[in-house]
Symmetry: D2
Subunit: 109 residues, 4 copies
């Protein structure tokens, strides 16, 4: 993996972290937040994983590949939950999650 691809993966994880945390905040404000419980939960899981992965890559961790493999899996799961919902923040989040999952999967391989 080139230095450019490495930097791109860090930035994708940070972008996904921001969008997941925004979706978490927005879900907690929805009138149907009970219906959004799984989305709230996965948004946090995914935001925390993406932040952890970006941190590990930026400090050149020897475990970056395995961490990105796990990050891809969690992004995929969060995207699959978010895409079930019609809120704009959920649709936007699903898109960011799937994009990040792709980039992390390439990083891991």
């Amino acid at each position: 993996m080139s230095q450019e691809q490495f930097q791109a993966c860090i930035d994708e994880c940070l972008a996904c972290m921001k969008v997941c945390n925004h979706c978490y905040d927005a879900c907690l404000k929805e009138g149907d937040s009970h219906h959004m419980a799984d989305c709230i939960r996965l948004d946090r899981e995914c935001a925390d994983m993406c932040a952890f992965a970006a941190g590990a890559m930026s400090r050149n961790s020897q475990f970056a590949h395995q961490i990105c493999q796990l990050c891809a899996e969690i992004c995929e799961a969060c995207g699959n939950e978010c895409k079930k919902h019609d809120h704009a923040h959920c649709k936007e989040c699903a898109e960011a999650c799937f994009k990040c999952a792709d980039v992390c999967r390439k990083m891991a391989s």
Copy 2:
């Protein structure tokens, strides 16, 4: 502050982190999770802050005092939210938060 008090503050923060994350999980399972939105939110804030403070203290950060001051404030806010609710996990969480706020306040001073 003695080494014993320092260790005690780390352990109080970690205990509070565990209880806040447990309360977060339990609130998301309640049928009235919309009513619990502020509690869910503060549980996460407090758990993350306590984990950050415990990490900083355990690596002997020169900023441990300021970090604990902020941690005390967030624990206090989380405790005040949790004590409004009748769920056993909220009562238990309020207690852990107020105890951690006290210990962090002493650490900070």
Copy 3:
């Protein structure tokens, strides 16, 4: 503070996190890493604080202002350490730290 300034502060913290973690990695590779011990230490403190602040802002934490105030202080301290050293990664890190400290200070006020 406008939404644009808020987003700008998140991005400044994430940029500073990346540069601090890069400086940490580079310092550990220097032949004189003993001489770099304070820089390694502050790079980690600052990277972790910036990641914490960016996470808090992106989830719309009610404590964002106080967190950014602390972040500004830690960025300032890291910048002051880094600027003592002639390594290019330290100079770059000092610049990112001072810039982030400025933006966080405005966010906190």
Copy 4:
């Protein structure tokens, strides 16, 4: 896995986090910190991974098993580095890492 084993794994990860961060701090104070660069680096990786795993378990993350599998791997690597060194903090750290790796491996399986 029983609730008791789950709690035990959280506590083992938090104990390992504390010991790794203490070893990191102590290594940075050693006169031969250049010689300790890999140990410093792995102490941070392991402390951060253990904190992440403990957080995930305490919030009942659906990814707890995969996270613990990765945590076991990083603990193992940190233990193998620490055991090369004669400092008491490294010996103590190696012991905590191998113990945590065992418990995480059981949790993951």
